[in-house]
Symmetry: C2
Subunit: 455 residues, 2 copies
């Protein structure tokens, strides 16, 4: 028998997870190893430790420990903005007239505006523990940069952010949030790095890309005493930290007897999706329960639904390790989709492997329909969602409407990764009826994939 | 004995208040009656009902019922974004090295970004219940307009917002949030009203004021079939709805054995301060407990600390009822302080009377010191506060530092009314070292007060 479900379930502090869950431990087919970009041999902890903090390098390569303790300092920080509520979307259900039960895990109740803070504090903590002076990173939409700035301010660590130039210029308020938290924000490409200068020379007037910003941040990290590089998605260590989303969700579900039939998340690099589904996937892998997992990506950047599963570069400068992943090719330039967090050419190795094994399904959706769903959700549920998160909303509503047709009382859980307060330029375009959709042609994708490295 | 205090206290749904508390019922000296601007006689419910919904007009004049039931529809809406957490500022205490215990009630976890939603949904609900078509209002900083847009979208009510022109132009993203919620937003002064046209003729190129926007919104409400006017602060009905802040805080305090020594709130029109302190003030008025209440206002608009307690006009057009309040005069033009929500010339009648009776103290603070406190708070507690709320933070930190000197273990509770995500222009000015302070001269205030109406 299930208890009456409140609108919002907040766990007690004592119920919050004390360990992260590492889904790789339960995967039969492990993600393929990261390769050294020069030798094409599997990266070792020692090699990775030149770029990442040592403990993070270890986490990156750890595919056997199912649980890893969350250090007390991180637990304390989590308590400042977590638990995130598991929300029963009573109002949305009623407005849709669906028999489906809809839940969402809302990660937007913190100043970074998204789930990114879960990994930012972990990465900053290990950097601090190692006695480092600071960290570098890149940011596209700005949520990751903000999260990292907050974590670094809290721990007294320096923070250098390379922000994709088009975002730097179009999102000055995001930049100011980072500056308020004491970060040093540089538009990328910049003349502060070799790769930046090279790109500026080759493509004068370029507005930058995530791949290029990554290369600049890595170059500075490797070349500056007491610095390391940190990354907000794609990596297995990030999915590990983000498992706190799924763990809290699962504890809340178990407490109230909620059994999700399907779990939906937007997928850019895979950090939110991977974090949300990991513990549930663990149950599925261990044969304890079954769920349908749906990754939602933009039609303009469809790495899972139209990409190839192959080794590829993670960055434009080709300095990062090679990763086997679903990719559109590191040279793929996605159209100016407003969900900046979903414009990466590749996908988390963990998510890629699970998808390749048929354990996750994927859908691509067009941004106009995504903003229609976002507007509807905002008006009914009172939260203005981030464009990224709205991809999940769109599919959750689609599925709830299918239930209305069939009469099925499915339980739908989706990840609401964040708020759209810094995305009002996109909303304005939508409000003014000026938003357009763009889907790459088969030819465009084939041309990009033809340039994949031969491994 | 007190339980261990978690970082954040969220009440259970079953513990949330079901009635608002009307502090007027316990006040020996009631606030002076609202007067008809033409006859100077006390306003009746019938007269007020031409401008406000009937039930709100009744609430406005009700100074005897201590508790008023919150309708179920409003309770349901509250459940979407409430309870607001009562936060123990462990990190701030540690960073300051103070023996004081600091708590804040955080009202920013909703898309309007502030406590304003508490009254917006109530006012929209009564309008809907009365069978109205829509409501009009004004907005300065934009938090109230956003809150009302959200409430109207939820209930299917039309919403016309007159937004002070300087905000309309400088805060396009606020405007877009309101538009996303379906509101019709007009920069004020506009040519859609008589008063707007008159002001534009008299002061071409003016960037508007709250007093003028109020007059326009009232004119449209009175002149449009099926419309009424709603207001986000100052009125007694608003303080009634906002008592939910104080009630939740008190229930949480009682549950954990927390006994605040002082309760601090920023004060513009008084809605947040009044709402936060009301139930505690009730205890003080009934002799059940004692607290120190501190109202914090900007030095640039010091209605309590430097104004007169007198009848004054609430709006530029002088169409609203006269109210006895602490005021700087309805013609007072505050300097361009970045806390737009604290730039009103007058103060809630309830707060004014309590202040005049010596039950509340007041302090004025300069905005540069306020932003210093805001930045410190953001970095330590992880929440980027609204400039308005940061006035309370400033004084809370000051008081905690006094405790550090004296060794007193005072318990400090303050209201964190909202987030500053739409105030990054102000933060940028502060980050760039370009923020200035302005304090009106005695002569300026005297000149403005000389024009008070003779009642």
């Amino acid at each position: 028998m299930s208890k009456e479900i409140p609108y919002k379930i907040y766990l007690e502090e004592s119920e919050m997870p004390k360990q992260w869950y590492n889904v790789r431990a339960d995967m039969k087919n492990k993600p393929a190893p990261l390769l050294n970009p020069e030798t094409h041999k599997p990266m070792t902890v020692d090699e990775l430790s030149g770029v990442f903090c040592r403990e993070l390098a270890e986490q990156e390569l750890n595919d056997h420990d199912a649980y890893i303790d969350i250090p007390q300092e991180i637990l304390d920080f989590y308590k400042m903005y977590r638990p995130a509520p598991l929300v029963r979307a009573y109002c949305l259900e009623k407005a849709l007239g669906t028999p489906a039960k809809i839940y969402y895990k809302f990660e937007g109740n913190n100043t970074s505006g998204s789930h990114k803070l879960n990994s930012a504090i972990a990465q900053a903590y290990y950097a601090k523990k190692q006695g480092l002076k600071g960290v570098t990173t890149e940011t596209g939409a700005g949520q990751w940069g903000t999260a990292l700035s907050m974590a670094c301010a809290y721990l007294g660590l320096e923070c250098k952010v390379y922000m994709v130039k088009v975002s730097y210029e179009q999102k000055p308020f995001r930049r100011e949030v980072m500056r308020t938290y004491g970060a040093d924000v540089t538009p990328s490409p910049s003349d502060t790095t070799n790769i930046g200068r090279k790109i500026l020379e080759e493509f004068p007037g370029t507005t930058g890309s995530l791949g290029c910003a990554i290369s600049e941040a890595v170059e500075v990290a490797v070349g500056t005493e007491g610095y390391r590089y940190v990354l907000g998605s794609v990596l297995s260590q990030v999915l590990l930290h983000q498992s706190v989303i799924g763990l809290e969700s699962m504890i809340a579900c178990d407490k109230y007897g909620i059994k999700p039939d399907m779990i939906i998340g937007c997928a850019g690099g895979g950090s939110n999706l991977g974090g949300l589904i990991s513990p549930f996937m663990g149950r599925k892998l261990r044969g304890e329960a079954d769920y349908e997992f749906i990754a939602v990506e933009p039609a303009s950047c469809p790495s899972l639904t139209r990409g190839a599963y192959a080794y590829d570069f993670c960055d434009t400068g080709k300095v990062c390790p090679l990763q086997k992943m679903y990719t559109l090719g590191s040279g793929f330039i996605p159209s100016a989709n407003h969900a900046g967090g979903l414009r990466y050419h590749g996908m988390s190795g963990i998510v890629s492997q699970l998808y390749d094994d048929g354990l996750i399904t994927a859908r691509s959706v067009e941004q106009t329909s995504v903003f229609e769903a976002a507007q509807k959700f905002a008006r009914i549920e009172g939260i203005l969602p981030a464009p990224e998160s709205s991809h999940a909303i769109k599919v959750a509503i689609d599925e709830a409407m299918k239930c209305k047709e069939t009469g099925e009382e499915k339980t739908i859980l989706f990840g609401l990764t964040g708020t759209g307060y810094f995305d009002m330029v996109a909303y304005q375009k939508f409000n003014d009826g000026l938003m357009t959709d763009y889907i790459p042609t088969d030819d465009e994708i084939a041309k990009s994939l033809a340039k994949l490295p031969k491994i």
